[in-house]
């Protein structure tokens, strides 16, 4: 990388830490540290929520998915606006009016301490593990593209984030998120511009989109009903609705953010910002991947985007086999480029016959290219013994470092850092809040001073950050990161949502009913994973229903049931 790009990254890292630390003076008591004194503006909170979700995995994994599979992943987000409306009507007013620090604190007010402690523990375990994966994503990128080790990259990403989150609290998290979000969106738009400018002179943007469309990469609606497939319209609108209700409504990293707003109306507006912008933003990320596919249709590309692995294969025991694959790949991509050029010319001249013939040839050579890439990946798997190997996460980083102009490379690598750091900061703050409020203050030192809790909270932030960094070093060995992160949460998300549905929607639900229901929901997910091929998105719906049904049955026969007058809050 050019020294200018290194300088941009260094300036970004120093500036973001300084910017976060500036807010330390506003975090001298617990409510300021964890909830920003409940005074943050809705738009900053809304952007912060979006920045937390847009991780480095989105920048790397989702662009790779766009390159490989196209835009069908977008269907995953279709239910999000509807979930935001449902939450604005139901959970948001309950949490805000209950004046709680954590979502799980509300469960003790409604049920009992064990339900609160158990749900909070599930959050702490699953989130600290998935945070490790979130940190490892840029480590995987940068260790390959700029030559740092995975461990060094983990430290460069995590340590500055730990520092500003530890001292600045949720205010530092929210305000740095706002700036990081601007950098991320600016970086993505810069990538789109570079990709369009990089197309051959006679290939316009509509031509490029038609080339991508002919391979099915612009398919954003799949109406087949198949519960073993995540990416269909029905999975994205029905099953994902429950995932988003659970994530935005019961996950501390999200709930904490809208508790920092001064009113229910402001909290609602902050959530609705995601309702408006999440689908277009994901479409932009996927479009970068799709445009990279078109760009590499006309530009020579490596057989593997993972340069380190490609070098190892060329020098390894199966070098001859790999070289043969590379020769076949070069010939296939050349034929594909020729067919794409004929398609574009035929469209310009209006020659329908030639367009149809070239279109068929393009599809055939594209299938051939995919097959050879598949063979290369299988060869890597055979040589390394890594059954999960995939180079899809390397496509965007490789494009950035090999095809982007000086300066823009630094900007985009900084944007990947920003995506990682904004997510890490939000999660660290939530982990610290849940561990201090739901465990330390509840069970260990209920009567300590605010000053004491503030000190413990800062230590907790550092602890979770360092633990996640250790997990990150090991998580870097995993394959497709995006699926892994989503799976971690899916073991618990639906069940926790079920408990909140019981808490708010069923006044007759008892604490024992909620607790047994929660166990039943988690067991149902374990059974689904062990015995079926049902896609993980549907686990959320099935688990939530299991919790409510079992919870109500147990509540009906609960000998320790206490009469309740209302839904709590």
């Amino acid at each position: 990388m050019h020294p200018v790009d290194w300088a941009i990254i260094a300036i970004y890292l120093v500036w973001i830490v300084w910017d976060g630390l500036r807010l330390t003076k506003r975090s001298h008591e617990l409510e300021g540290y964890f909830l920003g004194g409940r005074s943050l503006p809705w738009w900053a909170v809304g952007l912060s929520v979006m920045a937390t979700q847009l991780s480095a995995i989105t920048m790397i994994g989702t662009t790779g998915q766009g390159f490989n599979d196209g835009m069908r992943f977008l269907q995953f987000y279709y239910a999000l606006p509807l979930a935001m409306i449902a939450l604005s009507v139901t959970l948001v007013p309950f949490f805000h009016n209950a004046r709680v620090y954590t979502a799980y604190e509300y469960l003790e007010k409604r049920f009992d301490a064990k339900t609160r402690a158990f749900t909070s523990l599930l959050f702490l375990v699953s989130r600290s593990m998935s945070l490790g994966v979130v940190i490892s994503a840029p480590a995987v990128v940068l260790s390959v593209v700029i030559g740092l080790s995975v461990t060094q990259t983990v430290l460069v990403t995590a340590l500055p984030t730990i520092v500003y989150t530890m001292f600045g609290g949720v205010q530092a998290v929210a305000w740095t998120d706002v700036k990081q979000m601007v950098l991320i969106v600016g970086g993505l738009l810069a990538a789109v511009v570079v990709l369009i400018v990089g197309l051959p002179a006679d290939v316009s943007l509509p031509d490029a989109l038609r080339i991508a469309g002919s391979t099915g990469r612009l398919q954003t609606f799949d109406f087949t009903f198949d519960i073993t497939n995540q990416y269909t319209f029905w999975s994205g609108t029905i099953a994902a609705f429950f995932l988003f209700c659970s994530y935005f409504g019961t996950d501390q990293s999200q709930v904490q953010r809208y508790l920092t707003t001064p009113s229910v109306a402001a909290a609602r507006e902050s959530l609705l910002l995601s309702a408006y912008w999440k689908i277009p933003l994901q479409a932009l990320v996927l479009l970068v991947g799709v445009l990279m596919f078109v760009f590499y249709t006309f530009t020579p590309r490596p057989l593997l985007f993972d340069a380190r692995q490609e070098k190892a294969m060329r020098e390894g025991p199966r070098a001859a086999d790999f070289a043969a694959l590379e020769r076949r790949f070069e010939a296939a991509t050349a034929s594909r480029a020729a067919a794409a050029a004929v398609m574009t010319r035929a469209r310009t001249t209006g020659d329908a016959q030639q367009l149809a013939t070239a279109g068929e040839q393009f599809k055939a050579t594209e299938a051939q290219t995919r097959a050879i890439r598949g063979e290369a990946v299988n060869l890597v798997k055979a040589v390394t013994g890594d059954a999960n190997y995939n180079d899809v996460n390397y496509v965007f980083p490789t494009f950035i470092t090999t095809r982007m102009p000086v300066g823009v490379v630094g900007l985009l690598i900084a944007a990947i850092f920003a995506a990682a750091m904004s997510t890490i900061a939000g999660e660290l703050s939530a982990l610290s809040t849940a561990s201090v409020i739901d465990f330390y203050r509840r069970f260990i030192r209920p009567d300590a001073s605010d000053h004491h809790f503030l000190m413990v909270s800062r230590l907790a932030t550092a602890f979770w950050g360092l633990l996640a960094s250790v997990v990150a070093v090991f998580a870097a060995q995993l394959g497709s990161l995006i699926e892994v992160v989503n799976r971690f949460g899916s073991y618990f998300y639906g069940s926790i949502l079920g408990v909140f549905i019981l808490a708010i929607g069923f006044p007759r639900a008892t604490s024992n009913g909620a607790f047994v229901g929660l166990l039943a929901g988690m067991s149902s997910v374990a059974a689904l994973i062990a015995f079926t091929k049902v896609a993980f998105l549907w686990h959320n719906l099935i688990a939530a229903v299991a919790v409510v049904v079992v919870g109500m049955i147990v509540s009906a026969v609960d000998p320790f049931a206490r009469p309740r007058t209302g839904a709590g809050a």
């Binding site: 977008l74 469309g213 609606f221 609602r268 609705l272």
Partner: protein, 31 residues
């Protein structure tokens, strides 16, 4: 629910339908 909140939800719903419609048109036009 206040009238202001209801109109916010209605606006989100209308824009959601419009965005999905645009995406469907985009898919059909370029495929």
């Amino acid at each position: 629910m206040t009238r202001r909140a209801t109109s916010s939800y209605l606006r989100v719903f209308i824009i959601w339908v419009a965005v999905l419609g645009l995406l469907y048109a985009f898919q059909q036009y370029f495929s």
